[in-house]
Amino acid sequence: MSKKIRIFIGSLFASVIFPTAAIFIVFWFSSQKNEPQTIDPVLRADHIKSVDHSEFEVLQQEFESPHEVTEACVGCHNGRDNEIMQTAHWKWEREAELPNGRGVHNIGKKNLLNNFCTGAAGNNGSCMRCHIGYGWKDKSFDFGDPTNVDCLVCHDNTETYFKRSGEAGMPATTENATLAQPVPDYNYVAQNVGLPTRHNCGVCHFYGGGGNNVKHGDLEEALLECSKEVDVHMSPDGADMVCTDCHKTENHNITGKHYGVSAMNKNRVNCEDCHGNAPHNDRIIDGHFEKVACQTCHIPTYAKVNATKLWWDWSSAGRLTDDGHSIAENDADGNHNYLSIKGNFVWDDNVEPEYQWHNGTADHYLLEDTISTIPVKINELFGSYTDTTAKIVPVKVHRGKQMYDTEYNTLISMKLHAAEKGEGAFWKDFDWDTSAVLGMQYNNRPYSGQWDFVETEASWPLNHMVAPKEQAMSCTECHSRDSRLANIDDIYVPGRDHSRFLDNLGNIILVLTILGILVHTILRIAFYKKRHHAH
């Protein structure tokens, strides 16, 4: 073999084939992906009923009232009444230590304000329909009476049991029954009880704020029967899970709570309870677990089927027709954008969440608080990059305008609901001042008589409507110049952030380098030509 051929072959290997092979190895390594972990949890649907309630004589009696049903229940399930009566579902409050040394308070739906219907207390007839008791119509309700507990609303498996509207948690009676809201068939319902289904929880948790999906945005009636794309967990085509599959419950203590009413980093439900903290089998993606909640990438949009309320402006409420009738106006999608009783709304579906740091603690505007920021923060999630317990979470922020006392600088509890006209409720009489007087009175709060409207906002972390893995957010949703994380400003996000100064300086250096090379090249050519011309 001649030397030339040997050099050629040697060059081919040393300078071309081996270097190219090295690059191929790099590409091969970079393309190695492990399969995400799969899990096979035991679900409540696997539970086998141990008894047939229809055979119990006590459930075959003629029930005069729902209270008698409860008596029958606790006659066998003794002690369960005491369990449920310790919970927030019964008390509508929890003992909570607020962050920033604001002390220990009993807070909950019972006494917190919101920027929907402003607050439940004083509007019991309407709001307490979703209390798990019978007839919390005013402060005289007996929280110590076990027969006031409504077992059926959570354990009815017939989907025929409902509480009547406007009756503070009581089902319809023979006196007030209508075709749409009949007296429940207590024997049928009581003989067909079981573990709560999506329907049981949803009957309240889907309709908070006065209609389907008004409040949460990620909890609505579509979840009763939805596609995998809407909710991979609850869809019958997916895992077909019920609420208590994640919100694990012992002795009526249901895990998980919502930061619309809770404040402390405890008793939470976490994705990793089932999925572990490295479910992707991918170092980079699993590494995000430190700072990014699973929900952030896996709930790219919420309100995927029906719209949710994003803006509620009370200040325009009370406009009536010339002959004194209420007005209802719809937006293009058929959602109310004006109601005389409530004001203007903005609804939207398939909404991209906002993103906030959250370490599991939250502050709340308490009845005794004064306004310190505008917009007023109804609740505030805490956390930051340096907080090792905080993660970036997706949030629905509900904004609006509501009444406040301009003298005392406090948000006003409104009296909205009453059965009849003339009782001073805004929804019947449309009188702002009377509504404020009565609402503040019921809540034992001072009211100066001077009022106006102020902007408020509330943060509702999103946990449901988890998308199938194929629809999880791609990297560039956050790692790009138009990142979704625009509000997260205490962290460097590769792809989103860069030093403008450095990039400009670097580019100038590169341009100057190229210019220098060009000038040098031109000079070389020019001088070369000159030299050869001279020859």
């Binding site: 050099i7 050629f8 040697g10 060059s11 290997f13 040393a14 300078s15 071309v16 081996f18 270097p19 190219t20 090295a22 690059i23 190895i25 790099v26 590409f27 390594f29 970079s30 393309s31 980079i284 590494g287 430190e290 700072k291 990059y385 340096t386 090792t388 791609s474 990297c475 560039t476 790692h479 790009s480 110049r481 205490d490 962290i491 460097y492 590769p494 792809g495 989103r496 952030d497 860069h498 030093s499 450095l502 990039d503 300086l505 670097g506 250096i509 590169l510 380098t513 190229i514 090379i517 040098h520 090249t521 000079l523 070389r524 001088f527 070369y528 030299r531």
Partner: protein, 203 residues
């Protein structure tokens, strides 16, 4: 006369390093947010794999330099530095010969020695260290301050700009050999017609 300048390993190192640097640049600027090419996730995977490839190659090359004594060729010297700079600024235009003759044991001119020394001893280790911190900083999540990630990313970007500026000049200077093609040919084959010889032939 034909001289051998570059051993097979030397050439393998050079070309692999070149491909790695190009790959790291292309993926690195995508991660930086400058453009989209591979897709972000792929860019990150490739960048990280190439980074490890680069580190392994660097370790091998350090062994090679240590064992063969090639490291001596990268020691900076001021000897004839002025003449070398003058050559690039004027002599080259007048067709003057290179002030420092290339040989098997003196592949690099004084300016190259200085620049390569800085690249090998400072810029590349700097990029490797900032890159490793960038990749693995979160494993020490509690030990670090708020600006850590930002600082690391900015330092790594500075290194990237320097390396690309070097690459541009380096590629250009390839054409300043005895002929436009002689240097690159030598880097491929390992052999180059020596200048002295070529000068003689020319006459």
């Amino acid at each position: 006369m034909i001289n051998k300048f570059y051993t097979p390993y030397n050439r393998f190192w050079h070309w692999t390093q070149m491909l790695m640097v190009i790959l790291l640049s292309v993926t690195g600027w995508e991660i930086h947010g400058t453009y989209k090419f591979f897709g972000y996730q792929a860019a990150v995977s490739i960048h990280n794999a190439a980074a490890w490839g680069f580190i392994i190659l660097t370790i091998f090359s350090m062994f090679w330099m240590a064992l063969t004594g090639e490291w001596k060729q990268y020691l900076p010297t001021m000897n004839k530095m002025g003449a070398q700079i003058k050559f690039y600024l004027s002599g080259i235009f007048y067709g003057e010969p290179h002030p420092v003759l290339k040989s098997r044991h003196r592949k690099l001119n004084p300016l190259q020695r200085m620049v390569y020394f800085l690249i090998l001893m400072i810029t590349i280790p700097f990029q490797i260290i900032t890159g490793l911190i960038y990749m693995y900083f979160h494993l020490a999540k509690n030990a670090i301050g708020i600006e850590y990630m930002r600082d690391t990313a900015i330092l790594h970007t500075i290194g990237a700009f320097l390396l690309i500026a070097f690459l541009l000049v380096h590629v250009y200077l390839v054409t300043t050999g005895h002929t436009v093609w002689s240097n690159i040919k030598a880097m491929f084959t390992g052999y180059e017609k020596s200048e002295e010889h070529a000068e003689l032939e020319h006459q």
